[in-house]
C-alpha cells in the first residue's frame, strides 16, 4: 500500500502553474501536462481547482505524550497534524517526564514512526527538567536516533543569561538551534493576559510586552556575541518584531515564529472571560496583530508555528485564573493563515509554502521535508481547496483537545489530501491510512 502510485491531475502548483504530478515509490516521479499516459496503474486524483503545496512542517507542537495522554497522544496529535496538512511536527519537550534525555526523545520519535501520520521530530529540553539550572545532555539527544536539532524549554523561558549563553554556544557542536520561549519571569509573575487597556478594566494581572521584548533583545545580542543560531518561539508583539528586524539587519543568525492565533485574535476576546482564549504568550492588541502579519509577509518573521496545546476539558472549565494556558491549532493553521495572510493580499501560496514548510524544515534541519515540488523530491505534498469555507467545530477534530479559540468561526481553505512519503494519509478531507515505515 505504501508505494502505490498516484496521479494528481491538474493541480495548481504553489497556486501558480497548473500541472499533473505523478507520485511513485515515495517520490515525485514526474511533473508536467497530461501525464496520464506515463501513469499506468496510478490512482488518479482530480485536483482541478486545488493548490498543491509542500507538506507543512510545524516547529512547535505539544503532543503531550509521555505523561499527559489524557490531553493528547502522539497518535491523536499526528492524526490532527495530517488532517491539517502537515507532514512533519516537532514535539515540544515539556512532557512528563521531560524530553531531556536520549531515552525520552527516542521514545517519542519511535511513537511517531509507529503512528505513521507525519514525521515526528522531538525537541530536546535545554535544561534538566526545564528547571533552568543544569544543561540537559544535548549532545546525547543530538546523537540519538531522534537526531534532535531543536532544543527548547518552551513553556518556560531560559531566563538565566549565562545558561542561555552556554546553550547557544554548546549546540554549535552539532548544528543545533535554541528555540527560546521569551518571557522574563519576574515581570510576568502571576500574569493572566496582555497588560494594557483590557487588563486594566478586567483586573487581571498583566503580561507586559516588555517581558517578551527584553528577553529577545538580550538573546539576539547573545547569539551575535557567540555566533550561534537562535530561534524565537511565538513572537507576539510589535516591539519584538522591531527588535528581530534590527537583529536581522545586523546579520545576526536569528529566526522567528508566529502562531496562527496571534495573527487573527486579539485581547478583546478576554472580555468574554472564556478561558479558551487564555494562552501564553497572551493574545495582544490589534496593532500587534497587524505588525505580526506585516512581519510574516516581509520575512522578518520566518515561519508559522502552531503552538498546538491541547488540554482536557476540565482544564478550561473553570474560572480564568485557574485555567490552563494554550489552544489547539494543527487543524486550523492552514485556514487561519489563508484568512489572515492570503485573503488579505499580504502573501501568495508560494509565500505560504515558505513560511509553513521550507523555512521551518530548514530551521529544524529536517531533510526530506520542505522540498520543492520537483521530480526526484520526496512526495510530501498537501492538496488544498482554497475556495472551500468551513465552520470550525472542535468536537469534529482528531485532536483530543477541544480548546480551539476558532470554534464557531467560518474560515477559508480545506485540506483535501496529504501525501506523506508518497502515501495519502488524508484523502477526500478525511484520514486515509498511516504510512508504514520500513524496518530500520
Amino acid at each position: 500500500m505504501n508505494h502505490a502510485s498516484y496521479l494528481i491531475r491538474s493541480a495548481s502548483l504553489l497556486g501558480t502553474t497548473t500541472a499533473d504530478v505523478l507520485v511513485r515509490d515515495g517520490v515525485i516521479a514526474a511533473v508536467g501536462e497530461n501525464l496520464g499516459e506515463s501513469a499506468e496503474g496510478a490512482t488518479v486524483i482530480d485536483a482541478a481547482g486545488l493548490v498543491a503545496l509542500p507538506g507543512m512542517v510545524d516547529l512547535h507542537t505539544h503532543l503531550r505524550e509521555p505523561g499527559r495522554e489524557d490531553a493528547e497522544t502522539v497518535e491523536t496529535g499526528t492524526r490532527a497534524a495530517a488532517l491539517g496538512g502537515f507532514t512533519a511536527v516537532h514535539a515540544m519537550a515539556n512532557s512528563s517526564p521531560v524530553a531531556d534525555t536520549a531515552g525520552v526523545v527516542e521514545q517519542v520519535y519511535q511513537l511517531g514512526r509507529e503512528s505513521g501520520w507525519v514525521d515526528v521530530r522531538p525537541v530536546g529540553a535545554v535544561t534538566v527538567g526545564l528547571a533552568g539550572e543544569q544543561l540537559a545532555e544535548l549532545g546525547a539527544m543530538a546523537d540519538s536516533r531522534a537526531r534532535v536539532r531543536v532544543f527548547s524549554d518552551d513553556g518556560i523561558c531560559v531566563s538565566d543569561p549565562v545558561m542561555m549563553r552556554r546553550a547557544l554556544e554548546y549546540v554549535k557542536a552539532f548544528d543545533g538551534v535554541i528555540a527560546q520561549h521569551a518571557q522574563e519571569p519576574r515581570l510576568t509573575a502571576g500574569a493572566q493576559m496582555n497588560e494594557g487597556r483590557v487588563s486594566a478594566v478586567l483586573g487581571l494581572a498583566g503580561w507586559p510586552a516588555v517581558a517578551e521584548e527584553s528577553i529577545i533583545a538580550r538573546d539576539v545580542l547573545l547569539a551575535q556575541h557567540v555566533g550561534s543560531r537562535l530561534h524565537v518561539c511565538h513572537v507576539s508583539t510589535a516591539g519584538s518584531v522591531e527588535i528581530i528586524r534590527w537583529a536581522k539587519e545586523r546579520g545576526i543568525n536569528v529566526t522567528a515564529e508566529v502562531t496562527p492565533h496571534h495573527l487573527l485574535l486579539t485581547e478583546e476576546l478576554v472580555r468574554s472571560w472564556n478561558p479558551v482564549y487564555k494562552v501564553n504568550p497572551p493574545l495582544r492588541a490589534d496593532a500587534d496583530v497587524h505588525a505580526l502579519r506585516a512581519a510574516l509577509a516581509d520575512g522578518t518573521i520566518d515561519i508559522v508555528g502552531t503552538d498546538h496545546a491541547p488540554h482536557p476539558r476540565e482544564a478550561k472549565e473553570c474560572e480564568w485564573a485557574s485555567a490552563a494556558m494554550g489552544m489547539t491549532g494543527l487543524e486550523t493553521a492552514l485556514s487561519v493563515v489563508q484568512e489572515t495572510m492570503i485573503e488579505s493580499g499580504l502573501m501568495t501560496w508560494a509565500d505560504f509554502a515558505r513560511v509553513t514548510s521550507t523555512a521551518p524544515a530548514a530551521i529544524g534541519r529536517l531533510s526530506g521535508q520542505g522540498r520543492p515540488l520537483e521530480v526526484g523530491e520526496p512526495a510530501n505534498i498537501v492538496l488544498v481547496d482554497p475556495a472551500a469555507r468551513w465552520n470550525v467545530d472542535p468536537s469534529a477534530m482528531a485532536t483530543k483537545g477541544r480548546n480551539s479559540p476558532f470554534a464557531g468561526m467560518e474560515l477559508p481553505g480545506r485540506v483535501v489530501a496529504t501525501f506523506f512519503h508518497g502515501h495519502p494519509t488524508v484523502l477526500g478531507g478525511k484520514l486515509n491510512s498511516p504510512y508504514v515505515h520500513g524496518a530500520i
Partner: protein, 337 residues
C-alpha cells in the same frame, strides 16, 4: 437584566432604578419590624470563596429582610477547599434550586463565568471578584453620595444622579475592585472622577478610563472635591516595592489630620470622606478623619444593606428593565485592514 456582574455594562436607567429602590428599602430598616415578604420562598445562596464577613452579613441581612431563605456556603472548610471545581459547586447549588447566587471569589471574572457558562440558571450577583469588580459596593457608595448631593442641592434624590459632583478615589487602584466599579458607575451617573495614587498602584491602561489621574493628593484637594474615597492599602504591598514604606505612603497619599484641617482651609465645608472598609487607621486614613463628621463610613455600611435588598429584589422579581449591555466580546476579531 438577569445578573449584576459589573458596573461597566450597567445602564444609567438600571443604576438609578437600583438606587431608587434602595431608598424605599432603607425605610424598612428604620421600622420596628425590619421585614418585607417580597422574596418569601426564594432561596439566596451566599457563595464565598474568599473571606469577607462584612459583605456576607450585609447580603445575609438584605436577603432576610426580604424574607428569602439564606444559605451561606463558605469555601473554607467545605468541599471547595478539597479541590471541588467552581462548576461542581455551581451545579450543586443548582440542584438545590437556588434562585440567586451571591458570589465572592478571589479570581477576577468568576461571577461572569458562573453566569454565562450554562452551569446554573440562578441570578448571579457579584459580591467582589479578584481585582475586577464589586458592583454592590459601588452602588452603595453612589447611594451615599447621591443622598449627600441631593441634600446640598435641595433636590430630591429619587430619579437623580451625580451630575457635576467631584469625586476623588485615593489609594491602591491597581488592586482595587472597588475603584474599578466606582469609576464606571460614577461616570454613568455624571460625576467627575479623579484617581489619586502612586504611579505604581495605577494599572497600565488607566489612561483609557473615563476619569482623571493625579499622583498628588494635595493638588487634587486644591482643585476641589465633594467626596473623597479612600481605598484600603495593604501594608504587604511595600514588600513588592509598590511603595518604599507605610510611613512614606501615609505622608503622600494618606488622609491624615493635616489634610483633614486643609479641607476647612480650602473652604470645602461639605466635602465627605468615604471608605469601603475595613480601614487601616494611620495608614490610608487617620482616626480623626475616619471619625470626623465628614466621614460616611457607617452610612455606607447601613446603605449597603438597602442597596443589596434592592439588587436582590429587582433581579428576582424581574423588576429591572432588560437594558443591560452584553458583557461578552464579539466572537472573533476579523479585521483585514
Amino acid at each position: 437584566m438577569r445578573h449584576l456582574l459589573d458596573t461597566e455594562s450597567l445602564s444609567r436607567a438600571n443604576a438609578i432604578a437600583i438606587l431608587d429602590t434602595a431608598r424605599e428599602m432603607s425605610a424598612v430598616g428604620e421600622r420596628e419590624v425590619k421585614k418585607l415578604p417580597a422574596l418569601r420562598g426564594r432561596t439566596v445562596v451566599n457563595l464565598f470563596f474568599e473571606d469577607s464577613t462584612r459583605t456576607r452579613i450585609s447580603f445575609e441581612a438584605a436577603a432576610k429582610r426580604l424574607s428569602a431563605d439564606v444559605i451561606n456556603f463558605s469555601a473554607k472548610g467545605s468541599s471547595v477547599s478539597k479541590g471541588e471545581s467552581l462548576k461542581d459547586t455551581a451545579q450543586t447549588l443548582e440542584a438545590m434550586s437556588a434562585d440567586a447566587v451571591v458570589i465572592r471569589h478571589w479570581a477576577s471574572g468568576a461571577p461572569a463565568r458562573l453566569a454565562t457558562s450554562g452551569w446554573i440558571d440562578a441570578a448571579v450577583i457579584n459580591a467582589g471578584d479578584g481585582t475586577h469588580a464589586h458592583p454592590t459596593q459601588a452602588l452603595l457608595d453612589a447611594f451615599t453620595m447621591r443622598a449627600h448631593w441631593s441634600r446640598l442641592s435641595g433636590v430630591p434624590s429619587v430619579g437623580g444622579d451625580l451630575s457635576g459632583m467631584r469625586v476623588l478615589i485615593v489609594g491602591d487602584v491597581l488592586h482595587s475592585r472597588v475603584a474599578r466599579s466606582n469609576v464606571w458607575l460614577l461616570r454613568t451617573l455624571g460625576a467627575r472622577v479623579t484617581l489619586v495614587a502612586p504611579p505604581t498602584l495605577l494599572p497600565v491602561g488607566v489612561e483609557h478610563w473615563p476619569c482623571g489621574v493625579s499622583y498628588d493628593l494635595d493638588a487634587a484637594l486644591e482643585a476641589g472635591a465633594d467626596a473623597i474615597m479612600m481605598l484600603r492599602v495593604q501594608a504587604e504591598r511595600m514588600k513588592a516595592s509598590f511603595f518604599p514604606s507605610t510611613r512614606e505612603y501615609a505622608r503622600r497619599w494618606g488622609f491624615d489630620d493635616a489634610r483633614l484641617a486643609r479641607l476647612d482651609a480650602l473652604k470645602l465645608a461639605e466635602t465627605i470622606i468615604m471608605h469601603p472598609g475595613p480601614m487601616n487607621r494611620g495608614l490610608e486614613i487617620s482616626s480623626a478623619a475616619a471619625d470626623s463628621p465628614r466621614s460616611t463610613v457607617l452610612d455606607q455600611v447601613r446603605n449597603g444593606v438597602s442597596v443589596r435588598m434592592a439588587a436582590l429584589y429587582l433581579l428576582l422579581s424581574g423588576g429591572m428593565p432588560a437594558a443591560h449591555a452584553p458583557t461578552s466580546a464579539p466572537p472573533a476579531a476579523k479585521d483585514h485592514s
